[in-house]
């Protein structure tokens, strides 16, 4: 008797339908592969970056994708360390999503450096004072942790389970998973913070620079807190999107509501801290360098005060207030509208901290530096979405990702 590769008791579409569904994602991947060939082959002159924009779309994508992929670490923290059982129903999905986000972030970083073959210098000649060194170390190790966390999920494929060794390996790995989850949480708290430190330590850039505690600027803590708050919301939103696409219920509403409640309170505390940070920066830090708040939000075609209003009020306080109320959480549409707003808010924050920092003129005789990305940058930034579609589709089809699926779809 042959065993089907599809997990027992669940229904999946036909093979041809599945391939047809993946086709557009593979086309994007093909175009991205060509863009990568151009960039690695001919250099970064294939992008629209320049000396004013040493950091651009890719670094923004890195920061955003890593923060959103932070759902993996925070869900792991809730499931394995705090022991919130409900979260275990979505943890496999969170790990796959995290794996996609982190691996893509590393790939984009590999594209972004001028001398990719020297990329290992960051480990070999590491400058321990650099926030980027901390990011590189934590990111790489955490990617390893995510792979270890993902292996037992792969081993649960029915065909692989038939092999006795893998069956026992997967069982034993599950037993010790809390150790890896704890390692992942520790590393992720650090590198989310280090990513915040990347702009926060730039004392020559008064838009980004923040004071802080010891070596850590306030952005260190704000980035960690925002990733922990919004990451699980991203996991929940992507899970809901999977439900809509597959036409099946995969996770019970109470799981979403629990994540939304935790995220809502974290988002609220984060956005209060962010508001206080912004007020102090506008009233003390920036004026000490001769800048008023509005000097960073006027005289240019894009960066207006709307950025701050959108990030803090519309995509910060508003979703937080929706998510901390029972009525807001129990209304599924409202819950996911709030989650999407929070995700947009996080992306605006990362955009501002990277691109607005570089756009703002510092010398009084400079003008705003504006930038629009080249196609090579855009397609490779979309690539994580395509890879996400492919990996999640494969995982959904062949692995028991959602423990509640059978129960919800009898």
């Amino acid at each position: 008797m042959t065993t089907s590769a599809i997990p027992e008791g669940v229904k999946r579409c036909s093979g041809s339908q599945f391939i047809l569904w993946l086709l557009p994602a593979f086309l994007v991947l093909l175009m991205a592969a060509y863009a990568m060939f151009r960039v690695w082959g001919f250099g970064l002159n294939q992008t629209n970056m320049n000396d004013a924009y040493g950091f651009a779309l890719w670094i923004w994508a890195d920061l955003a994708v890593i923060a959103l992929g932070g759902g993996a670490f925070f869900s792991g923290f809730l499931a394995y360390i705090i022991g919130v059982k409900q979260v275990k129903n979505i943890i496999n999905f969170a790990v796959v999503l995290g794996l996609v986000c982190y691996s893509m972030a590393l790939l984009l970083l590999g594209l972004d450096v001028g001398q990719p073959l020297r990329g290992w210098y960051i480990f070999w000649h590491a400058n321990i004072h650099s926030m980027l060194t901390e990011v590189a170390f934590c990111l790489t190790i955490y990617l390893g942790v995510l792979i270890v966390e993902f292996i037992p999920v792969i081993l649960e494929n029915p065909k692989i389970q038939r092999i006795r060794f893998f069956h026992h390996l997967s069982h034993n790995m599950h037993e010790i998973m809390a150790v890896f989850a704890a390692t992942g949480v520790f590393l992720s708290f650090f590198h989310q913070g280090s990513l915040g430190g990347v702009p926060g330590v730039l004392y020559g850039r008064p838009f980004a620079f923040r004071e802080g505690i010891f070596i850590w600027p306030w952005t260190f803590f704000l980035f960690t807190w925002s990733a922990a708050a919004v990451g699980p919301l991203f996991t929940a939103t992507m899970c809901r999107l999977t439900e809509i696409i597959t036409g099946k219920r995969l996770v019970k509403d109470e799981v979403y509501q629990l994540l939304a409640k935790i995220s809502g309170w974290m988002l609220l505390t984060y956005i209060i801290a962010k508001t206080m940070d912004t007020i102090y920066w506008a009233a003390v830090t920036a004026p000490s360098a001769g800048f008023s708040l509005m000097s960073f939000y006027t005289n240019n075609p894009l960066y207006g005060i709307w950025m701050l209003v959108a990030e803090i009020a519309i995509c910060g306080f508003l979703p937080a207030l929706i998510l901390i109320t029972r009525k807001g959480r129990e209304n599924r549409k409202l819950l996911f509208a709030a989650a999407i707003l929070a995700i947009i808010g996080l992306c605006i924050n990362r955009w501002a901290m990277v691109l607005q920092t570089l756009a703002a003129p510092l010398k009084p005789f400079d003008e705003w530096f504006m930038y629009s990305p080249a196609w090579t940058e855009v397609i490779t930034t979309i690539m994580p979405v395509a890879v996400g579609i492919i990996v999640i589709s494969l995982a959904y089809r062949y692995l028991p990702m959602f423990p509640q699926e059978k129960e919800l779809n009898p």
Binding site: G43, L44, N45, N50, D51, A52, Y53, G54, F55, D112, V113, G114, Q115, P116, R118, G119, Y121, I122, H125, A126, N127, H129, S130, M131, L132, T133, A136, V198, P199, V201, L202, Y203, G204, R205, P206, P287, S288, A289, G290, F291, S292, S295, T357, L358, L362, K363, P364, F365, F369
Partner: protein
Amino acid sequence: MQNVPSHTKARHFGMVIDVDKCTGCASCMVACYSENNVSFRDEESAKMLSLNWITVYKLTNGKPFPDTEVCYLPQPCMQCDGKEFGKPPCVSVCPAVATDFDWPTGIVSQIYTRCFGCRYCMAACPYHARQFNWWDPVWPADMEKYLSPNVSARTRGVVEKCTFCYHRFQLARQKAYHEGRSEDIKEEEYQTACTQACPSGAITFGDLDNPEHEVYKLKQDRYAFRLLERLNTNPSVYYISKRKWVHRMADNYLEGEVPRAFAEKEA
């Protein structure tokens, strides 16, 4: 990021540029290109893609004729001492120690073979003094024969910047050593290419901490200022101008604030 070596004499090289003397001829830029093997392309109109270790900016007071005034401001790497001495904004951020603060000279180095092109240092530098090699360097036919053997050419994908012609310091130190003068380098023995090329004598170079050097006196001029001084980068490049609007162009001031050199006068 190391302490001062006890066996080496510590100096603090810096520059004072009298912008009231600068005519904007750009001889300094040409000399720098030639001295430091700075590459160029056929098409150089996109200034944010060009390589130039010293840039001459044209500033105006913004007033209509006949009150229009122009000032030319040459800007090399500021060789910042940093908020904490020895920690310029670009040095501590480099993840691979490809740029370092040289304690015996106060010069910020750039190690091209160590740089892997992450460009974090460029993001950290408020002066845009650091530039990236977006292309491989290509010189016109036969011009490669005229490249300086003392300065390594850079490859695509690394960051480069002004080094205060550090190779000239090395040559001067070597010469002094061979002549039995240990490290006693005379002021005229180590001068940057841009300083020597300036026809109007606007650029002065030397040890900022040595009372015998011209720059020591000039930096104390009442009208001396530094670019974006309020960011606490502590540049080693000073400027002199008696014109208030030029001082205003060199830093950011809130409403009601007056540049330091003119504050007492107005009070």
